[in-house]
């Protein structure tokens, strides 16, 4: 392969742009043609002339934004190749949430891969990440510091179940992101043998139903807002963090506030959020996995974006690779919350 794939990507005020194919990837504002890695709000935004993504991401975008939010939605199955201008593109699974994909751009100068968000762990709700050999790898770095090692999810789920046994009179309210984390947690709880109905905050319902329609089993669910207070004692309630911080939480019987996020690895951060049971469960690669993935792609050049870029850039350079931090506006998420 030639090593000039750098030319396939540039940065403009809408984000990452491929001049040879005339499209943006996960643009920050409406553009004529957007290739979108997955359905999270910081990657898939409304108002695009043409949206190109996996069929599952398209379904998620329709549920989130409505049918009229895009001029036209075009889907591309994983591995299916599409010619755009001077390049071919195809999508490879990213293992992040249902429908998430890496964008592979290929032409006569080589191959570039934009990872979007990804993880390397097993997830019963989506296809596993597949490393793609390339010349230029654009990686996320949400957990791009060596303090982040995600423990096995079984242990984290086990701690939740142990707490339910210890406090059978208290609801266990887990703060989750509505897309991905919510459904993965449900699926993992089922895998661990939790068969009781799971109570959901209203804002989680639509996407969870969609997962089921797309073939991911979720088991019995109930509406937490309509439930009687007593019936949620000893049960699992899922809600967005904002609802648990707000008056909504008062409907729950003496709740144990839990959170499922990679940030929970750092105690001080977890405590500030008033969390009583932190679970280190992330849909992103941890430090070791970020490093291993960079090496696995064989890319000579790595661009780092979306999180703690400095650490990963520093590490890549110590490995003799070319590495740059991409400061994409609107992506500086830092410590404030898990970038989706």
């Amino acid at each position: 392969m030639s090593v000039d794939a750098n030319g396939y990507l540039t940065l403009n005020d809408a984000g990452l742009y491929c001049p040879a194919g005339d499209f943006h990837i996960d643009p920050l504002r409406p553009v004529a043609r957007a290739v979108v890695t997955h359905g999270h709000g910081d990657h898939c935004r409304p108002g695009m002339g043409k949206l190109l993504c996996t069929p599952q991401t398209a379904a998620i975008a329709r549920v989130r934004y409505g049918e009229t939010a895009f001029g036209q939605i075009e889907t591309l199955a994983l591995g299916e190749v599409l010619r755009l201008g001077e390049v071919s593109i195809w999508l490879a699974p990213a293992g992040h949430v249902l429908g998430s994909a890496q964008v592979v751009i290929e032409g006569k100068h080589g191959r570039a891969v934009v990872s979007g968000d990804y993880k390397r762990r097993f997830d019963p709700t989506c296809a596993p990440f597949e490393p793609v050999a390339c010349d230029l790898f654009v990686t996320e770095a949400t957990f791009g510091l060596p303090v982040f090692t995600h423990p096995p999810i079984e242990g984290e789920i086990g701690r939740l179940l142990a707490s339910l046994a210890t406090f059978p009179e208290r609801a266990h309210a887990v703060s989750v992101y509505p897309l991905g984390k919510c459904q993965r947690l449900i699926a993992e709880l089922r895998r661990a043998g939790w068969e009781a109905p799971i109570y959901l905050h209203g804002s989680l319902r639509k996407l969870t139903d969609l997962y089921e329609q797309l073939g991911v089993a979720m088991g019995p669910k109930l509406d937490a807002t309509a439930a009687r207070k007593e019936e949620m004692a000893g049960q699992i309630v899922l809600a967005p963090a904002s609802a648990l911080r707000d008056t909504w939480a008062r409907r729950l019987p003496d709740p144990v506030i839990c959170a499922a996020s990679g940030w929970m690895r750092v105690r001080q951060r977890a405590r500030q959020g008033g969390v009583e049971l932190p679970m280190v469960i992330s849909d992103h690669a941890d430090w070791g996995e970020l490093c291993a993935t960079i090496l696995e792609t064989g890319a000579q050049t790595t661009w780092v974006t979306h999180g703690a870029e400095d650490g990963l850039v520093h590490w890549a350079r110590t490995q003799g690779l070319t590495a740059e931090a991409l400061a994409i506006a609107g992506r500086e998420n830092g410590a404030e919350g898990e970038a989706e």
């Binding site: 690895r265 105690r267 520093h314």
Partner: protein, 547 residues
């Protein structure tokens, strides 16, 4: 180390006292000796393993981790022990699990030379949570929100027959890892035998007089007037049964001196003698005295703020000793030499205290003389007349009462002087913990100062109490509706709501932007009616500073 690491983790994230007790009790019940005893010692600050300093830990990690990555990580995490615990490379070494007692024994035996390498070898064997526990253990300072008293309360809950008071009575004669203590708690042995001559005697504490006079619903300061209190006192309590004395504004202490040494204990039984070498040196007498620790100049007690400068210091400079001389004002005599006086009635103990003072002629120790009075009304006037900074109010003690540890209802009352108060403006509100976690229940309020661009609010205090549950709900609604800014769990609000804040005193403070600090501020009344610009100015508060 696994159970201990889990314990620390659970304690860090548990806000409510009851839940913490449950976690502690379960740990003590499930963990064998001697591990649980070492854990108890670590929680109570009784484990001295100062062989490893933070700088040593930092050096160890920088040998193993790229310094740039370490610095970036430390910036992000903010706590050295936690950063090191998280970033320490997993070696995959899998020996037998490391017991807490093994780690303690090894660290106790190690000198400064070998301790770092030893610690590194242990860290190599552990996962991140346990590394955190080990580093905390090695460097001291758990900071998991467990007081010695809370730990002892959990111990008492393990047994139907042993009470918290029983444990406290023996505590100062016990040593880690407390194997006989646990045997006693589990009913496998009798009470441990200990040399108690220098041990802390559980202190006798008083209830506020209002507790005896008003029912629970009535008790808030703002509903009761002085006249009603006096009327009820006249109705229910006979002045002839009581001795009155000043309640000095220092800290309650117990001072014990025997041929084998001297001890100075705080109200909760913590040893504080280290910060008061001047007092210990002066304790040439024999006995056990209950009194107030004060800074005293020319026979006059200095304000509490002066005493604060002496509290909690490891090293006391000659200058501190000169400028803030410590002194005990004696209320009671618990032991005269070896003779235990606690079963005698107060009137008898007081007579013996006076004899004892005449006999021993102690230095840095004098009598808190009884305040003579005929009627409650007359005593009320004496109390109202006393505005000296060092008098917090009066104590009323039954003449016939023996000295019993704990807080029995009936024999002792405190009759504090009326608190000071000021009208302050709510500036910030923060969400509470536990049951209050969805309510804005912690309030920062300010007083007006004149800035260059007009009047501005300067924060002067924080309060978490003094309101009813209904008022909390109303405040919560008001705060959500008047938010101007948010930072994490904190909201800034429009300067539009006035609190009447009660507090015991105002002190000068260089740590606060306002230059003052309130003692025990609480919300006395929510002044929904009062326009914010009519609230008090900072100089009004400054004028209240205790002289």
């Amino acid at each position: 180390m696994t159970p201990f690491a889990r314990l620390l983790c659970a304690l860090v994230f548990t806000a409510s006292r009851n839940a913490k007790l449950r976690v502690l009790r379960r740990y003590f019940e499930a963990t064998p000796d001697p591990d649980r005893g070492w854990a108890l010692a670590a929680l109570c600050g009784k484990l001295d393993l100062r062989s490893v300093k933070p700088a040593v830990i930092r050096a160890l990690v920088e040998e193993r981790v790229d310094p740039v990555l370490f610095r970036l990580s430390y910036d992000f995490v903010g706590d050295l022990a936690e950063t090191v615990a998280l970033i320490w490379p997993d070696t995959g070494a899998k020996g037998a699990p490391l017991l807490l007692s093994e780690a303690v024994d090894a660290l106790r035996a190690a000198g400064r030379q070998e301790a770092p390498a030893l610690l590194a070898r242990m860290l190599d064997r552990l996962p991140a949570d346990e590394r955190f526990a080990l580093i905390k253990l090695a460097t001291g300072g758990m900071r998991v929100g467990v007081s010695e008293r809370l730990a002892k309360t959990a111990l008492a809950q393990m047994s139907a027959d042993v009470s918290l008071e029983d444990i406290e009575a023996l505590w100062h004669g016990l040593e880690p890892p407390y194997v006989p203590l646990f045997a006693w708690l589990e009913g496998r042995a009798g009470a441990p035998s200990v040399d108690l001559a220098l041990a802390f005697r559980p202190m006798m504490l008083a209830h506020p007089i209002e507790a005896a006079l008003y029912s629970a619903g009535e008790q808030r300061e703002n509903t009761q007037g002085e006249a009603l209190t006096l009327a009820r006192m006249a109705e229910r309590l006979s002045p002839a049964d009581f001795i009155a004395e000043w309640k000095w504004d220092g800290i309650r202490v117990q001072a014990i001196a025997t041929p084998s040494g001297q001890r100075l204990y705080s109200r909760t039984g913590e040893e504080i003698g280290g910060a008061f070498p001047d007092l210990l040196a002066a304790m040439r007498w024999r006995g056990a005295v209950d009194g107030e620790l004060l800074v005293m100049r020319d026979g006059e007690p200095a304000p509490f703020a002066d005493l604060q400068k002496r509290l909690g210091r490891k090293a006391v400079s000659a200058r501190m000793l000169r400028e803030f001389p410590a002194h005990i004002r004696a209320y009671d005599l618990l032991h005269d030499g070896e003779r235990d006086l606690r079963d005698l009635p107060l009137a008898e103990r007081q007579a013996r205290l006076q004899d004892w003072l005449a006999r021993e002629t102690p230095v840095r120790l004098d009598l808190s003389p009884p305040v003579p009075f005929e009627s409650w009304e007359g005593l009320g006037q004496i109390r109202a007349g006393a505005r000296a900074a060092a008098q917090e109010g009066l104590m009323l003690k039954r003449r016939d009462a023996p000295y019993v540890g704990g807080r029995p209802m009936g024999p002792w009352f405190k009759w504090k002087r009326d608190p000071l108060s000021a009208d302050c403006v709510l500036m910030y509100a923060q969400r509470g913990h536990g049951k209050r976690s969805s309510f804005y229940s912690d309030y920062t309020f300010g007083a007006w100062t004149l800035g260059e661009d007009g009047p501005r609010l300067t924060p002067v205090g924080k309060a978490y109490s003094g309101y009813t549950d209904d008022e909390l709900k109303e405040l919560d609604r008001w705060i959500r509706a008047h938010t101007t800014d948010r930072f994490g769990p904190v909201r800034a609000v429009e300067p539009a709501l006035v609190f009447e804040v009660a507090f015991d005193a105002v002190q000068r403070s260089s740590r606060h932007k306002s230059g003052i600090a309130m003692r025990f501020p609480r919300i006395k009344r929510i002044r929904w009616d009062k326009p914010a610009h009519e609230a008090d100015r900072l100089d009004t508060l400054e004028a209240m500073i205790a002289q």
